[in-house]
């Protein structure tokens, strides 16, 4: 049976992954908005 | 009514040119024969345990049928594009008649393949059947089902840079559910003498075939004309 601490670390890593995905998508969003302004 | 006549005109044309060139028949037949020989030589009637036979035989039989068919069925459309006759046909015939004619030709080809392959398979592999009419039903339903999706996929790949590999890649996901039911039905026909045991898998194959044919009727004109 895993200890509660290990569950904490799994949760932390999952949130870390989520933050990574979110920031990556956010940067895509920014770049895309800029491109949309440049293209007529 | 006219559509029926036009479909049979196309079927007759396919049969005549096939009789003269024999490309599809020989590729399908040779493919089936070589695979069967390879499988039978390695596995034979006695290498398989008695209780495993129906399972393995049913699966092997349909694998051979499907791959042999995939060497010949796409030709109905691919050869029209290769020989530059597709446009002439497109101008002359209604899409419904083209699909029906090609479907019927593939059906004839598949039934011929099964008539040739299954007796040999029974002999080489020691494949015994508890209910022969049931097996015939499964084989006919299988030919209908495979012919319907194969004809449609053939139409699609002939409009792409169509190759035999692409045919297999596109048809496997469509045909796999059908193959599952066909294998199950074949196993039932081989082991259970009652015809009623066959009904669930037969019903599944027939409804899958129906769905494929109905959606093909809508989609084929799109594929054919674009």
């Amino acid at each position: 049976m895993p200890a509660p601490e290990s569950l904490f670390w799994v949760a932390a890593v999952t949130i870390g992954i989520w933050i990574g995905i979110f920031l990556y998508c956010l940067s895509l969003e920014r770049r895309l908005s800029k491109l949309e302004e440049e293209t007529p | 009514m006219n559509l029926l006549i036009e479909s049979f005109t196309i079927l007759r044309k396919e049969l005549t040119s096939e009789l003269r060139s024999r490309v599809a028949v020989s590729s399908v037949g040779l493919f089936a024969l070589t695979t069967l020989v390879a499988v039978a030589y390695q596995i034979g009637p006695y290498r398989i345990h008695e209780q495993d036979r129906p399972h393995l035989h049913a699966a092997l039989l349909w694998i051979i049928v499907f791959f042999a068919a995939s060497s010949g069925l796409p030709r109905v459309f691919v050869k029209e594009e290769d020989a530059h006759t597709a446009k002439s046909l497109r101008l002359a015939a209604r899409p419904g008649a083209v699909f029906a004619g090609k479907f019927l030709f593939n059906l004839v080809l598949l039934l011929g393949l099964e008539a040739f392959l299954v007796p040999l398979f029974a002999v080489f592999m020691g494949f015994s059947v508890a209910n022969l009419p049931a097996l015939v039903l499964v084989l006919v339903a299988g030919a209908l089902g495979l012919a319907s999706s194969a004809t449609m996929v053939a139409a699609i790949i002939s409009r792409a840079t169509g190759s035999a590999t692409l045919f297999v890649v596109l048809s496997v996901p469509l045909v796999l559910p059908m193959l599952v039911f066909l294998i199950q039905g074949t196993r039932t026909a081989a082991t259970v003498p009652e015809l009623s045991a066959l009904l669930p898998s037969l019903r599944a194959v027939v409804s899958l075939t129906g769905v494929t044919l109905v959606s093909s009727a809508f989609l084929f004109p799109v594929v054919w004309h674009d």
Binding site: - | K13, S17, T85, K87, A92, A97
Partner: protein
Amino acid sequence: MAGVEVRFSGLSKRFGRRAVLRNVSGTARPGEVLVVTGPNGSGKSTLLNILGGLLRPSQGEVAYLADGRTVPKEEWHRHLGVCAPDLSVYEELSAVENLRFFTQVRGLRLHDRELAAVLEQLGLKGSDFFRPVKQFSSGMLQRVKLAQALVHRPEVLLLDEPSSNLDEAGHNLLKELVMAWRAQATVVVATNDPREVAWGDQVLELAH
């Protein structure tokens, strides 16, 4: 007169990034020959393919008008005969079998004598009627292709480089045929041959 008028307006065709046709319009009328000419790659074949309904234009429209009424696209094939380099006939079949097939799928029943008459009109000999087309020379094949375009007596005739592979005699035969056919049909010819450009009642020149 009866017949089918082919009207096209604002036709453009792009293949991916490449524009082949730009804003082409015109009308082909019954009793007239419309010649489409222009350098290679100017889109003559593409235009004919669009007029025949074999290709969807990126922009613009084609309409077939019979007695002022628009013919729905599903019925075009009844009115249409096309001869083009990329439209072939079935090699394993004989000339007569080919014609029989192409009339029967259109729902017509012609007697073999009538089919033979069309082939004779195009200068093919009786001994060739029942040989597989595979054995034909390219000039003879071109005549069979022309027969395929004519056999069902279409009201619209689209000919793309109709004299390719034809000798001098074939060329003269073709001229007679086009002139005769003009009386009963709308004829569109795509060509680069100055002799054929001269057939036109109207000439549409495509720029590169």
